[in-house]
């Protein structure tokens, strides 16, 4: 197993209230576990505020963990001193939704890529240039791009640069947080194809965070669905989307637009929005929006347990009617 996340918890403190603000604990991630194999793409889907980006950041220790372990290649990196963690960083890379925000506007692309190589002592002298050129070539950018500044590139090209900067360190896993959400459809397809090629050719594993179920289905072998800081269903992507078990997964799947006008639209969806993670509902966190709710859902928190081919956190997984899609 390349990456193992166990019982991950991340909290933030927020001050709320007037006229006397109090500190509240916001449990952004509340007990999340999953694992990722070499060369596999693992998707995490959910709506805004469900904690999917925080999971990504916690894997790379960009936020502090409250509890839990992140085991990478057999090493628990959640408690590793920063100095030792730095040696592992080249192997764990991240790409972001807005590549422009992660590139210095005053640094040439070649310098930005070379800096990463030098900082980690991967190469020196002429060898650095060669690595940079290879990485740019691999993502489909001309070698001259190295001399140019970020503002000279389009959104899709900037995302290619973001990927090149991760690649130049030859990572074994890339955590990608909404990497194609800001791109137009035709460019999105180019970037997805590029990442699929890297996965196949260089055996790079991906943790792929997205709110777009279509993109996740296309790219990821396995997927976890998150709701208010917890994983509520996980398994093979195809099975989850073709036969979703958890009522929330069903809801997500049924409201995801399908580009086919001849597919009859489902009956009207229930009103309602996810509650605030500051004050999550008792028992099953989805119960106020669930059409199958019973008393046990209001009091007892369901745990992830094997069902079908995957894991589901629902008290009634066995007795629910088959999902209508």
């Amino acid at each position: 197993m390349l990456l193992k996340v166990e019982g991950l918890r991340v909290s933030f403190s927020v001050r709320r209230g007037w006229p006397f603000p109090k500190t509240h604990e916001l449990k952004a991630v509340d007990g999340v576990s999953f694992d990722v194999r070499q060369g596999e793409a693992f998707g995490i889907v959910g709506e805004s505020g469900c904690g999917k980006s925080t999971v990504a950041r916690a894997i790379l220790r960009l936020v502090n963990l409250k509890e839990g372990r992140v085991v990478f290649n057999g090493i628990d990196i959640s408690r590793l001193p920063v100095r030792q963690l730095r040696r592992l960083r080249p192997k764990l890379q991240m790409i972001f939704q807005d590549p422009a925000a992660s590139l210095s506007p005053r640094m040439r692309i070649g310098d930005a890529l070379a800096e990463a190589v030098r900082v980690h002592g991967i190469a020196s002298g002429k060898a650095v240039d060669r690595l940079v050129r290879d990485a740019l070539n691999e993502v489909g950018l001309a070698p001259e791009s190295a001399e140019r500044f970020p503002h000279e590139f389009s959104g899709g090209q900037k995302q290619r640069i973001g990927i090149a900067r991760a690649l130049v360190l030859s990572p074994s896993i890339i955590v990608a947080d909404e990497p194609v959400s800001a791109l137009d459809v035709s460019v999105q397809a180019q970037i997805l194809n590029l990442m699929a090629r890297l996965k196949a050719e260089r055996n790079i594993a991906f943790v792929f965070i997205s709110h777009d179920l279509g993109v996740v289905r296309h790219f990821c072998e396995r997927t976890a669905v998150m709701y208010l800081g917890q994983v509520i269903e996980t398994g093979q992507t195809r099975e989850i989307f073709d036969a979703p078990s958890h009522p929330y997964t069903r809801l997500l799947r049924s409201v995801s637009p399908v580009p086919d006008p001849e597919k009859p639209a489902l009956a009207e969806v229930q009103e309602g929005e996810p509650p605030s993670p500051l004050d999550p509902p008792s028992g099953c966190r989805f119960h106020p929006r669930c059409q199958f709710v019973t008393d046990v859902c209001r009091t007892k928190t369901p745990v992830l347990r094997p069902f079908g081919g995957g894991l589901v956190a629902c008290h009634h997984a066995e007795t629910l009617p088959p999902a209508e899609l």
């Binding site: 709506e47 805004s48 389009s154 899709g156 137009d184 459809v185 035709s186 460019v187 999105q188 397809a189 180019q190 997805l192 194809n193 699929a196 709110h211 777009d212 179920l213 279509g214 993109v215 289905r217 296309h218 790219f219 195809r238 989307f241 809801l251 997500l252 799947r253 409201v255 995801s256 637009p257 399908v258 580009p259 086919d260 006008p261 001849e262 597919k263 639209a265 009207e268 969806v269 009103e271 309602g272 929005e273 996810p274 899609l325």
Partner: protein, 327 residues
């Protein structure tokens, strides 16, 4: 009866002394109770088109040719002050980012009351009552008590409902929704789109739905217009476009969509990118990225009909009589 007729519209931008066409010779119409979706990627001119209809163009842009008829009223003949009576009353608008469309220091109730008093001449008390009615209509829970809340106290989805209440307050003939759900989560997106569908049917409004999401088009539009680089390259009924896309761009766009309901081996991607406005070719603007490009494409093809009589229009030389036919 047509709520909106756009005839040969051209909107140009003045950039560094040169004139560039952001919208080129576009024609379409929207019937009462009908939704026309305009789809295209960023920079295709879809928002410029909406701004032209509302006459809210930035100072560097102007309509240089064509006509726009709103409920048979030629918009270009209306004075600037006259336009203020048209916007909000005859045209309702819903934008992508509800927070920027609302005034942060006024309560949502006051904001919904304002057009009611300005356009319909209601008294303060009547407007308050009508505003609460509108808030109920867009399904804001406990509307009466939410009347005096400020926009920041609402969630994104609720804010968009407020904007919709504002847009439909004066029973407009035309509703322009520019990426109305792009900033929202999918569950909320579906609720908002369903709400717009209901309101459109009830109010017999025509709707111009601007979006980049073909999934939304499939579920919520009657007809589609595909735009590329300021040109309307194809228009058809929704079923027709998804079943038989004709223009090479529409075909490529549909083939590049990842789908949640089935497995695709590889996504077709369109090589290259949209040229910038300054570097647009004179002829067909898709020619540099098109697998079927030929000599003729250096000039813009005239509109051509595809197939049977259900108004499937495409602008591509492949479909012009005497041109080579598509494979």
């Amino acid at each position: 009866m047509s709520v909106l007729v756009v005839d040969d519209l051209r909107t140009s931008l003045q950039i560094n002394g040169g004139e560039y066409h952001a919208v080129r010779e576009i024609s379409f119409s929207i019937e009462e109770g009908e939704t026309l979706a305009v789809v295209g990627e960023s920079g295709c001119g879809k928002s410029m088109l909406a701004m032209s209809i509302m006459r809210l163009l930035p100072s560097v842009a102007s309509i240089t040719a064509g006509r726009i008829l709103l409920d048979s009223l030629p918009i270009e003949a209306v004075s600037e002050t006259g336009m203020e009576r048209v916007r909000g009353a005859k045209i309702g608008m819903v934008f992508q980012e509800p927070m920027t469309a609302l005034n942060p220091v006024l309560t949502v109730g006051e904001q919904i009351s304002e057009p009611l008093r300005d356009h319909l001449g209601l008294s303060r008390r009547e407007a308050r009552k009508a505003a609460i009615g509108l808030m109920e209509k867009v399904r804001i829970p406990s509307a009466a008590s939410r009347y005096s809340s400020y926009p920041h106290e609402f969630s994104g989805g609720m804010r968009q409902r407020v904007v919709i209440a504002l847009a439909i307050a004066c029973h407009p003939r035309l509703l322009i929704a520019d990426e109305p759900t792009t900033a929202l989560d999918v569950t909320v997106q579906r609720q908002i789109l369903d709400l717009l569908d209901v309101l459109r049917t009830e109010g017999k409004m025509g709707m111009l739905l601007i979006t980049h999401n073909l999934g939304i088009v499939a579920g919520h539009a009657d007809r589609v217009a595909v735009m590329y680089g300021g040109d309307l390259v194809e228009s058809a009924t929704v079923t027709d476009l998804f079943r038989n896309p004709a223009h090479p761009y529409s075909r490529a766009l549909l083939a590049s969509l990842p789908r949640v309901d089935r497995d695709l081996s590889e996504l077709a991607s369109i090589p290259g990118r949209v040229p910038t406005l300054v570097n647009m070719p004179d002829g067909c603007r898709f020619m540099d990225r098109c697998p079927h490009a030929m000599e003729k494409c250096n000039s813009m093809p005239p509109p051509a009909d595809v197939g049977d009589a259900n108004l499937h229009m495409v602008r591509c030389w492949l479909y012009v009589q005497g041109g080579e036919h598509a494979a």
